[in-house]
């Protein structure tokens, strides 16, 4: 099995603050990886570096074992098949739901573009809202819309930053089902989330970050039992 994302010796600094400190990890195709940890542990920074939003001070990130992401632009990274949903729902509010998803398809949508968009809208349950402006959607719907925007292009690496933040239990349930449905042998999914039950339900393995380093890697059940993890993050 090939490694989808290989992070090696990654260090990111903001001024004198080290957000990531010599971090290394590997995420395989076919897996759903939960990335958890206390605030400031570097979870979002990790996604920022992989998606090209932030620059690394040292280290490298290899996608598909060939493409070095720390030197590529955000657009190049996205076009190569690495997509990301942001923490704050980021949709184009003045455009319709359908247009948002169509834009997610990329610059060359192809002849079956509209069909793909329609199917995607169906998947996330937004078909009836297709002609509304994205700005009019409820919070949960915006979360799904953004997921639809990044998923419609069939990414090889899908990063979800807090996909269930602010969602109701029922919406969280549906999002979990959606993420499970997106799991495929040719795709790696990275989920950053604070909702531990959600993470446990969807991920194969979790990585616990603390102060920019890996504190633990393994199953959620073992993470819950790990003394260090309990100490810095889960609490008693």
């Amino acid at each position: 099995m090939t490694v989808a994302v290989l992070v090696e010796g990654l260090t990111v600094e903001f001024g004198r603050f080290r957000a990531l400190n010599d971090l290394s990890l590997a995420i395989d195709y076919g897996e759903v990886r939960g990335v958890v940890g206390p605030n400031g542990a570097g979870k979002t920074t990790l996604l920022d570096v992989i998606s090209g939003v932030s620059r690394a001070k040292a280290g490298r990130v290899l996608f598909d074992e060939t493409m070095e992401l720390t030197r590529a632009s955000e657009a190049e990274i996205a076009r190569s098949g690495v997509r990301r949903k942001f923490q704050k729902p980021s949709v184009f509010e003045a455009l319709t739901v359908r247009d948002n998803v169509a834009i997610g398809l990329g610059a060359k949508p192809g002849a079956d573009g509209p069909e793909k968009v329609a199917r995607m809208l169906e998947t996330v349950g937004l078909t009836s809202e297709a002609d509304r402006l994205a700005g009019e959607l409820a919070h949960g719907q915006k979360q799904w819309l953004e997921i639809a925007m990044v998923v419609v292009a069939e990414p090889k690496v899908l990063m979800l930053d807090e996909p269930v933040a602010g969602l109701t239990d029922e919406e969280t349930e549906r999002t979990a089902a959606l993420v499970k449905a997106l799991r495929s042998p040719g795709r790696a999914i990275i989920v950053v989330e604070h909702d531990m039950d959600f993470v446990e339900r969807i991920s194969d393995r979790v990585t616990v970050l603390h102060e920019g380093r890996t504190l633990f890697e393994g199953s959620m059940a073992r993470a819950r039992a790990d003394a260090a993890v309990v100490d810095v993050y889960l609490g008693r």
Partner: protein
């Protein structure tokens, strides 16, 4: 279903406004052709059309792409100076009268390199080419460094100010403080001839009409949607695989060229170009026209520019010292009552009041 109707309603309303303004422009063009208006009126219509074109150019980048330029007078001036040089060359060629600029600049004749501008097509291409080149270099440098929002606005303001200081100097070679004036002929006809006034006004209105229709088609298409996406969330768009630098650069250059065309049409109608069009005040005023009419809807920019300038023309004849106060009051009233511009007047019915709020495009504040 109600929600669906809302967004369609908003777009239909915008379409109706564009069609209404387009029809009004066509009617204006017809009135100019048929005649019956005094030369002064025709000339006023022509000037207003130029200002409206300038506002339209700004609305493309500010209203749609969320890039506020407070230096669009620069591109207007490029068009103005190039056509000024063209008119001087034609005047000398056809009448032999030495223009004032030659005397006060201490020249023997117009500079040799102005020669090719005697041809109007060359002047037209030069105006569009120079404004495009300046916009491209400045835009590329700014957008590549990800300068945006107020910072970009301030730099554009500085740019137009620098240009003004430069053009005020005689040794820059474009007439300094006095600029260029004393044009004798336009298109082979004495410039005072009513036919010239009429022709220029008609050309201005028609160019404006074409620009409105063309830009509207462009903006409701994919390019326009991507611009709105850039405005709403540029990082999001980039991380969906789009090079927003290219998108912004394209619309920025298009806007600059339209502004240059406005300047090119304007100068023959007022008979003078000098560095005062480069004053920061004019460039800020363009943004005021757009804001008053309503940003991001094209029709709003035209309505705003025509309205504000019509009042300005009326007042500067009678009470020039009152103008700044009137303008300031207009800005405050619009900001307080119609934050999205006077176009909202049409939606200001009790039954639509609550809806109108919900369907406003998100503010394009930089």
């Amino acid at each position: 279903m109600i929600a669906l109707k809302r967004s369609l309603l908003a777009r239909a309303a915008d379409d109706r406004m564009v069609v209404a303004v387009a029809l009004a422009l066509a009617a204006t063009a017809a009135v100019v052709v048929v005649g019956g208006l005094s030369g002064y009126r025709v000339n006023t219509i022509g000037q207003l059309a130029c200002f409206a074109l300038l506002a339209l150019a700004l609305d493309l980048i500010w209203g749609y792409a969320g890039i506020l330029s407070l230096g669009h007078g620069l591109f207007f001036a490029i068009g103005g100076y190039v056509v000024g040089m063209h008119l001087l060359e034609r005047s000398v060629a056809e009448t032999g009268i030495t223009p004032d600029i030659v005397q006060f600049m201490g020249w023997k004749a117009l500079p040799g390199w102005w020669g090719p501008l005697e041809s109007f097509p060359v002047a037209l291409v030069a105006a569009m080419g120079v404004s495009f080149a300046v916009a491209f270099v400045f835009g590329w440098a700014s957008f590549r460094s990800r300068v945006s929002g107020v910072y970009f606005a301030i730099i554009t303001q500085a740019l137009v100010y620098v240009a003004m200081l430069l053009m005020f100097r005689n040794d820059t070679g474009f007439g300094g403080n006095n600029g260029m004036t004393g044009f004798q002929v336009a298109f082979g006809v004495p410039i005072q001839d009513p036919a010239v006034t009429k022709g220029l006004a008609l050309a201005s209105v028609l160019v404006l009409l074409a620009a409105l229709v063309g830009c509207r088609l462009l903006m409701i298409g994919r390019f326009g949607r991507l611009l709105v996406a850039t405005r709403d969330d540029e990082v999001r768009l980039r991380s969906l695989g789009y090079e927003t630098l290219r998108l912004k650069l394209k619309v920025w250059c298009l806007s600059a060229v339209l502004a240059a065309l406005a300047g090119l049409l304007y100068v023959p109608q007022v008979g003078i170009i000098n560095p005062r069009v480069l004053s920061p005040e004019l460039s800020i005023e363009i943004a005021v026209w757009c804001a008053i009419g309503g940003r991001g809807r094209l029709a709003g920019a035209i309505i705003g520019a025509v309205l504000v300038n019509a009042v300005k023309f009326a007042l500067s004849a009678s009470l020039p010292e009152l103008w700044p106060f009137v303008l300031a009051a207009l800005v405050i009233v619009v900001a307080l009552i119609f934050p999205n511009g006077l176009l909202d007047l049409g939606k200001w019915k009790p039954t639509l009041l609550s809806r109108a709020r919900a369907l406003e495009p998100r503010d394009a504040t930089p």
